[in-house]
């Protein structure tokens, strides 16, 4: 059944779409609130020699699809996934944090073939769902017999500039920047630092920067 749905999904895309792209990119993230929680964690645990790295480097993959249109500004949708990991290996104590985001969004694709040949711009507006998880010594942390997690929801706006090679437009490198106001359930600080009172605000902002390559499927 799953295979059938996927088959119809992809065939429908390839039949009617203007363009379908898969991309993979390096993602840089900057969130003052995440930083502060991890910095506090490192500050109050001098017994851990190796510091917990901040969430900085991640990977992002994206599937997007623009609809057929005669004008230069096209529209479409996109589904993305970002993954970050922060790991500190200390003697007897290996702490790993996992941060996942799923982005579902609408995109506007602009290509002015006369002025900037080969370049295109995307503006993307996403709804973001996220999850933060922690493993200690390779075991998921637990709270009340369930995996201890922090889930969140937010919005995201992304500006992307890419380039289509003239000879083969199958591959196109791109860079993008994005901003997200994001609401995490108040467990975030508890998960990162086992505390709740130091950074009370569950609102998280993050900025991101991506550098990657997109593959045109159709």
């Amino acid at each position: 059944m799953k295979k059938l749905i996927l088959y119809f999904f992809f065939t429908s895309l390839t039949c009617y779409s203007q363009e379908t792209k898969l991309s993979i990119s390096y993602e840089y993230i900057y969130s003052p609130q995440f930083d502060k929680s991890i910095q506090t964690y490192n500050f109050d645990r001098p017994f851990l020699k190796e510091k917990q790295p901040l969430f900085i480097n991640g990977i992002h993959s994206n599937f997007n699809h623009t609809f057929k249109n005669e004008i230069q500004l096209k529209q479409g949708f996109s589904i993305g996934y970002s993954y970050f990991r922060s790991q500190a290996n200390n003697l007897n104590f290996n702490n790993t944090l996992y941060l996942h985001f799923i982005q579902l969004g609408y995109l506007f694709h602009y290509q002015n073939s006369k002025r900037l040949i080969g370049f295109y711009e995307n503006i993307q507006i996403n709804c973001v769902l996220g999850g933060l998880f922690k493993n200690i010594n390779d075991q998921a942390t637990q709270f009340e017999e369930h995996r201890f997690k922090s889930l969140g929801i937010g919005g995201e706006i992304i500006g992307l500039i890419g380039y289509n090679f003239q000879k083969s437009d199958r591959l196109s490198p791109f860079i993008s920047i994005g901003y997200s106001p994001y609401y995490f359930c108040p467990n975030t600080e508890a998960l990162l630092n086992d505390s709740k009172g130091l950074i009370i605000n569950p609102w998280v902002n993050y900025f991101k920067f991506n550098l990657g390559i997109a593959f045109k499927i159709k």
Binding site: F43, N92, T141, F143
Partner: protein, 444 residues
């Protein structure tokens, strides 16, 4: 666009891309206050978990500090007795409540041995020991609880007299009498609890862990037998005077003494603390509490006995320990502890407990009794009680109590924990580092 043009544009774009994160990266340090400009002196009053952890953090930051401790030992409400049984027993705190907390990380990383205590309860109910109760008394975790005492709420829910000491045990866990603990506020304050539900015991003691990992590295900075009598914070330099009239000066003071000491104005402040502050202290509860260890020749008792009218909670002390001796702990809080304290001496307390155990176990207690050890926190001059609890109408008193004054006086200790981790050792430690952060934050 020509290939060369593309390369030029592409190059500029990537330079921009790399530079932006680089600029942000430069202000992204891994640790708070990696370079702190604070060069003053901090005095910490009290060498319990909060004071010791604050000192431990200050030491790691290379900040000048001294801990003044009234008693002749560090640890406060954490301690140990090596001589009563063939395994070390915890005088005060003994269970690590849950694993999502700072000390649990420390325990794991220092390879300190702990074991899960998953022993089951037996209830003393209608003069019988039973495994299960007809009605589940765990009614205090619900939302929309009224701001009435545990006892009143249990009455409202029609838990009759038969459940009186079962409810007393639930309140006793929170260090209070069922008649004084607020159902509403206890729940509200516990909502923030993130540490988890399981209880762990130390193969050695909680004290051993605190001593080797936290106290020893800062031993040189701890001054014992120093009872702080007054704190003058009227000028830039704070002056502290002890009971021998010795003077100490500091730029910042972290006060970690138990809330009972602050409630009773045992330390004089100049100028007086604001009314709002003293009112907040007065609203935080701290009741009587004691631990009595009873050694027997045989283990005739169950691992946990709940609901006695003299002591609502007994626990097998041997769980998680390596040793042969049969030691039963009587964990007594609130009105039960007040009553036993009023008996006046340790023998009378022991006799009362043996009487109750005899009733429960067919006179086996007195027959196999060897010795007892009473550790009454109610009478300890620098503790004066068990731990803080949520009184009716406590409101945001903990927040008010924990607020710093004039960026000079900082308040820590289990009662000042706002994470729902009050009443615990790690909760006290959390307030210790929190106040160091508050000191450094305001002095960048």
């Amino acid at each position: 666009m020509k290939r060369r043009e593309f390369l030029k544009n592409g190059f500029l774009i990537s330079i921009g891309g790399v530079l932006i994160p680089k600029t942000i990266l430069s202000c992204r340090k891994e640790t708070l206050f990696e370079e702190s400009s604070f060069s003053g002196k901090v005095i910490i009053i009290g060498a319990g978990a909060a004071g010791l952890y604050a000192g431990y953090i200050l030491k790691s930051k290379g900040i000048d500090f001294q801990i003044l401790e009234a008693s002749n030992k560090y640890g406060g409400r954490i301690g140990k007795n090596d001589s009563f049984a063939d395994f070390p027993i915890d005088n005060g705190a003994q269970w690590l409540h849950g694993k999502n907390n700072i000390l649990s990380d420390f325990i794991l990383s220092s390879n300190t041995k702990i074991t899960l205590d998953d022993t089951e309860n037996m209830y003393w109910f209608k003069n019988n020991l039973v495994k299960e109760l007809p009605k589940n008394p765990e009614i205090f975790d619900e939302d929309n609880l009224p701001d009435v005492s545990f006892q009143q709420y249990a009455n409202q829910k029609e838990f009759g007299d038969d459940y009186k000491y079962i409810i007393e045990n639930l309140a006793g866990d929170q260090g209070a009498s069922a008649s004084k603990l607020s159902a509403y506020w206890n729940h509200q304050e516990e909502i923030n609890w993130v540490s988890g539900d399981d209880d762990y015991k130390f193969e050695q003691t909680y004290f051993d862990f605190i001593e080797t990992q936290i106290a020893k590295p800062i031993n040189n900075e701890i001054k014992l037998n120093t009872i702080v009598k007054s704190i003058d914070y009227s000028s830039e330099i704070i002056t502290i005077i002890d009971s021998n009239n010795q003077k100490y000066t500091a730029n910042k003071v972290i006060i970690t003494v138990p809330i009972s000491i602050l409630k009773k104005n045992k330390i004089e402040f100049t100028p007086h603390l604001p009314n709002e502050k003293t009112e907040a202290f007065s609203k935080i509860g701290m009741g009587a509490g004691m631990k009595v260890f009873l050694k027997f020749s045989t283990q005739f008792y169950d691992d946990n006995i709940v609901g006695g009218s003299i002591c609502a909670a007994y626990a097998n002390e041997k769980i998680g320990k390596i040793g042969e001796d049969n030691v039963l702990l009587a964990f007594i809080m609130g009105e039960q502890a007040e009553y036993l304290t009023s008996l006046g001496n340790d023998d009378a307390i022991t006799l009362k407990l043996l009487e109750e155990l005899d009733l429960m176990y067919n006179n086996q207690a007195t027959k196999s009794f060897i010795s007892s050890y009473v550790n009454n926190f109610t009478n300890k001059p620098f503790i004066e009680g068990a731990y803080s609890y949520s009184t009716i109408n406590i409101g945001n008193s903990r927040e008010k109590a924990a607020e710093s004054i004039d960026n000079k006086l900082f308040f820590a200790g289990e009662a000042m924990n706002l994470n729902g981790h009050h009443q615990t050792v790690f909760g006290a430690a959390e307030t210790g580092y929190r106040e160091v952060i508050n000191i450094l934050k305001n002095n960048k």
